[in-house]
Subunit: 434 residues, 2 copies
């Protein structure tokens, strides 16, 4: 006879909602590193972030109920960092460094709540904006994306019985484990989970992290998700993102200031962090332009994270640059993180093996690959390309060019101005799947 | 925070074992039909059943702990039919017939316990014998096989962590659902679960039955497992087995009596049951021999269950026989149940579609297909060919010839005698996988 836990059942009656965001640590690690620096370097800058759905054919406002979305966003605004989480942030070492976060920053976090949001609907899509102090709005990016992705998955599974759900997850688990078995043929693989923002759901991401721990052992080095890193006892992974050069450029007074912005940001980063955190993201305004003018001291950094050029082509450009600077790439690190999946990881690994150190940040295709898993055949679980980008700083437009014009953001006239400054060199359009 | 159900946890502390057999209804339906008849026709016959592992390379006594096996067999002997189960047996209709089981039989069941067993080890295999009144020892077949198969699966999974177990079952579920999706392309499919004896475990068989209910709808007509039929609200399926002609032949005084035994059994069956239960199993001593001498009245029966000849060949022989008797096969039924899997079901269905009614009894490849599912790569989950056969009746040897010599049972000299009586015609050796 099944013993029903009546107390838990009765407790469940009272739920107003099943929260997507239950902890502010359920975010990407690099956000904490960046926000600590932003608070020191640009305490007064206001920045607006906006959600952009690149997969236009998926009309999100017709898929996700607006009331449900507001309830989840409102709930996220009630969540604060818990005492246990703050003690862990202060006491844990990250990338081998003790006291990565200063007491003043921890104190600020202890009072932090996500700021307000603006939500409207246009042409079947949600317009979701976050406006306020940069250090505050920046922290919306990950929870906003996780909420939208998880609500979309919930909507896709709403009419599924227990059995169809069981088959869906069985297939997704079998799929992921087959990927794990292919990946563990690579003896020197270094891989981490970068899939928080695009995940199917929090519990599924946790299962994925456990799968990588179990299946890849020491080849799995950690997760970008701070909460999961704490819970699973693995490293929190991540350094910096496009928003730093984008805001730095937006704040510049002239074209020369914009052209120098990517390097100014790295100087600031170098003042705050060291060692393995010295990873440069070269593609905000095009990798080719970035490398052409990159200062020699950047060759002393640990490595690069090419993020929008095809991985082999992007890696080869960076290797050539290191060689021009008189540096042996075998001592350097490349972190590949743009829409990777097992095939591209295997191909990239084999291409560069022995020539450079490599690490892979595996995102959407790790934590949201339910393609074909739905026994009822719906397409609501196919991953989409949803991002949350800074669009302005102190009222000035923020622009991203990227190596792939399909990933550029900003007003067309602003993009044109940035293209005049940085040039078109090396940019090639390719479809953005995830 | 997870609420732990402390009462259940504490209750679990006290388990001496996790029983494989928790109900005597957890058996195949045809056992109840046969035993009711045996008690009337042969109340004084003693029969010995023996477990035979045809997969010699799997040394079961080295895989399954003897103490554990004894504990499970002993536990099964403590289980009786519950009042609820007996009321259901008496009150439910089977094959559209009310009161299938007479009050006297229900009364006998209410006092029934499984008789004693003899267990020893020889050459790495268990010798497991059941000796006693035929009606009692016959009821050991299914629980004995279910216990051995489940203990083997438990041994194979003993050193698996929670994660490896999760992946194992995810893969098996995904596998089964892929099979279901292939099967539901057949509009006139009629399929039932025959997998009790060879199942991975009871809970897994239940999942399989739920999968077929959910995925095949009305094309899934029921299960041979009486307990699952009751729980899932589907039909209990089955008619009769080889033990009837085997014991009838063993009791015969001369060769002529042996030759006539298969038909005497069917006459007895016809006196007890009617309608859709009039299914003949032709292969105990070879289908070709059986059909050569089969009486004309058998053409009035509902159909045949070919069980050891390749399905298309066996079906064609039976179709020819019906045509010789002047009967249109389109009004008749063939039940295929010998090691079927999706490929052979599809092939057989397409071959006979429109020429005869068909039904498929799906066994081992339904309830125990974990091939390649173990992430730790062990082979302990590969299905084996384990049977429990009557080996003697009233001290006389029981023999099965089968259409496939690899499935014959009995002493070589007794097999030779039976072959002289029935002939070798139509018998072809083929490997027995399950």
């Amino acid at each position: 006879m099944v013993m029903t836990d009546i107390a838990t059942r009765v407790w469940n009656h009272g739920w107003r909602l099943d929260p997507v965001v239950r902890s502010l640590l359920d975010t990407d690690f690099y956000k904490l590193l960046m926000v600590q620096m932003i608070r020191e370097v640009h305490p007064d800058v206001r920045a607006t972030f906006a959600v952009i759905n690149r997969s236009k054919s998926v009309r999100l406002a017709e898929v996700i109920d607006e009331g449900e979305l507001r309830a989840q966003l409102d709930h996220a605004r009630t969540v604060g960092f818990s005492k246990q989480e703050l003690i862990w942030l202060a006491g844990n070492s990250f990338y081998g460094v003790e006291r990565m976060f200063a007491p003043g920053f921890i104190d600020w976090l202890s009072r932090f709540r996500l700021p307000d949001y603006e939500l409207s609907v246009r042409d079947g899509q949600y317009e979701l904006h976050f406006d306020g102090p940069w250090a505050e709005t920046s922290l919306w990016e990950i929870p906003a994306l996780a909420i939208l992705n998880e609500l979309r998955a919930r909507a896709a599974l709403r009419d599924h019985g227990r059995f169809a759900l069981d088959v869906t997850y069985a297939r997704a688990k079998a799929r992921l484990w087959d990927k794990v078995e292919r990946l563990r043929t690579l003896p020197d693989l270094v891989l981490s989970d970068f899939g928080t923002r695009r995940r199917h759901g929090f519990l599924w991401q946790r299962w994925c992290v456990e799968a990588l721990q179990e299946g890849l052992g020491s080849r799995f080095v950690g997760t970008s998700n701070v909460l999961l890193a704490m819970q699973a006892g693995v490293e929190a992974i991540g350094t910096n993102a496009h928003e730093l050069p984008m805001v730095e450029a937006a704040l510049s007074d002239d074209d020369a200031g914009i052209a120098a912005a990517p390097y100014r940001v790295l100087e600031e980063w170098r003042r705050h962090y060291g060692g393995n955190l010295l990873i440069a993201l070269p593609d905000a305004f095009g990798t080719t332009a970035f490398l052409r003018n990159a200062p020699h001291w950047l060759a002393d950094w640990t490595g690069f994270r090419p993020d929008s050029m095809p991985p082999i082509e992007g890696g080869e450009q960076i290797l050539r640059w290191w060689q021009e600077q008189g540096v042996d790439p075998r001592s350097k690190l490349l972190i590949f993180s743009d829409g990777m999946d097992v095939d591209s990881i295997l191909k990239t690994y084999q291409h560069f093996h022995g020539r450079v150190r490599m690490s892979f940040g595996w995102g959407t295709n790790l934590t949201n690959d339910f393609r074909g898993c739905d026994p009822l055949g719906g397409e609501g679980l196919e991953p989409i390309s949803l991002v949350c980008k800074v669009i302005s700083a102190n009222g000035r437009p923020a622009v991203k060019l990227s190596d792939n014009p399909a990933k550029a953001t900003g007003d067309p006239s602003d993009i044109a101005r940035y293209l005049r400054i940085f040039g078109e060199g090396g940019r090639v359009a390719s479809p953005v799947a995830v």
